[in-house]
């Protein structure tokens, strides 16, 4: 004959371990025999189950009314991060381009200014070449023109006839 009933703690223990292998065999045996405890546990379980049904139903209703952002959410949210990186990369590039733009414009406009100058300098160079070419003694041989030939006049007395005596003046 049973002389006790399950305590509130034991009933809760049974409910929270339901569906697991953690159930106390003694509790199971008692519940199999005791109608009163079985009714108490069933009542507690019913209250929890009713709460679950209401919670699931309410959540489903709320979720159904939400806009379907599921597909667009990563596409909507992730590019924000990507755009930050893109912005961070593009801004310095744009600033660099802006800084280089005046140089580029100057480079584009400079050939029209430098072209006649280059042409003039080319002409002057050609004239110089002509002058150099037309000179009787090349510049490389110019130093030799300062050498004095003593073949005919002031040669040393002991020089052999027909030999050349060269005296450097400088």
């Amino acid at each position: 004959m049973k002389t006790y009933h399950l305590s509130a703690w034991e009933q809760e223990e049974y409910v929270l371990n339901r569906g697991t292998d953690l159930q106390n065999p003694q509790l199971l045996r008692h519940l199999a025999d005791c109608t009163a405890c079985r009714a108490e546990v069933a009542r507690l379980e019913h209250g929890v189950a009713t709460f679950r049904s209401a919670a699931v139903e309410w959540s489903s209703e709320c979720l159904a009314t939400r806009p379907q952002q599921l597909q667009s959410f990563p596409l909507r949210r992730l590019p924000i991060t990507a755009m930050r990186w893109a912005f961070a990369a593009v801004v310095p590039l744009a600033l660099l381009l802006l800084a280089l733009l005046p140089l580029h414009l100057f480079h584009l406009s400079s050939p029209s200014v430098t072209h006649p100058v280059a042409q003039i300098s080319d002409d002057a160079l050609l004239e110089q070449v002509d002058e150099q070419v037309s000179v009787a003694v090349p510049s490389s041989m110019e130093s030799l023109t300062h050498l004095v030939s003593t073949e005919s006049s002031s040669g040393p007395a002991g020089a052999a006839p027909g030999s050349k005596h060269i005296v450097q003046t400088n």
């Binding site: 929270l16 709320c62 952002q69 990563p74």
Partner: protein, 201 residues
């Protein structure tokens, strides 16, 4: 031989972890699979559909960004629940939430939820009893402290195992059990109050 054990364990874990990370990579499928579950948990914790939606989206965004940090030591559902738990906790700490929590009363909400509950095959009188009991339970769950409520929801709504709850909440299994006992005791008291009111009639 002892030194080999972690290697064997890592070798066995790696394919599972790789499969989980592959699942985390596909954010669309991830959302489709777990959205309703995370949203429900957030909604019942916060009682605010807009805030719950925001938390759900943040949860998936955070999970996607931190997918490389996922170690594979628990299921994806548990990992997402852990992220959601942290986000819910942060939301409830915000001043805005505190303001609306004090401004709103849960009685209207509980009644509205109970009205929608379908009770097929029972008499109108019994349906009324079920409704009143549900309102009491609903309010008692809303009045639970944060951790007790989270543990209660994860066990009895999401039907998670105790070790899973412990992992998701960052608690010991014994602590989870303790919270569950207290939460169930509060629910039981609420049901007893409802029963007492019924007897008075």
């Amino acid at each position: 031989m002892e030194a080999l054990e972690p290697l064997i364990y890592a070798g066995e874990l790696s394919p599972v972890r790789d499969r989980m990370i592959a699942e985390l990579e596909d954010i669309d499928t991830l959302c489709l699979t777990y959205r309703s579950r995370i949203y429900r948990y957030a909604l019942l914790s916060l009682r605010d559909p807009d805030l719950a939606d925001s938390v759900t989206q943040d949860c998936f965004l955070k999970a996607y960004r931190a997918r490389d940090e996922f170690r594979g030591d628990c299921s994806i559902a548990t990992w997402l629940t852990r992220i959601a738990t942290n986000l819910i906790r942060d939301s409830t700490r915000s001043r805005k939430f505190q303001f609306w929590k004090t401004a709103n009363t849960t009685a209207v909400e509980a009644g509205a939820v109970a009205d929608r509950l379908r009770s097929p095959g029972i008499s109108p009188e019994s349906a009324l009893v079920v409704r009143e009991e549900l309102v009491k339970v609903w309010d008692s769950v809303a009045a639970l402290p944060g951790k007790q409520r989270s543990v209660f929801l994860l066990r009895f709504v999401e039907e998670m195992e105790l070790p899973e709850i412990a992992s998701a909440m960052g608690l010991h299994v014994g602590t989870v059990k303790s919270h569950l006992h207290r939460a169930l005791a509060a629910v039981r008291k609420a049901m007893e109050r409802s029963k007492a009111m019924e007897r008075k009639r």
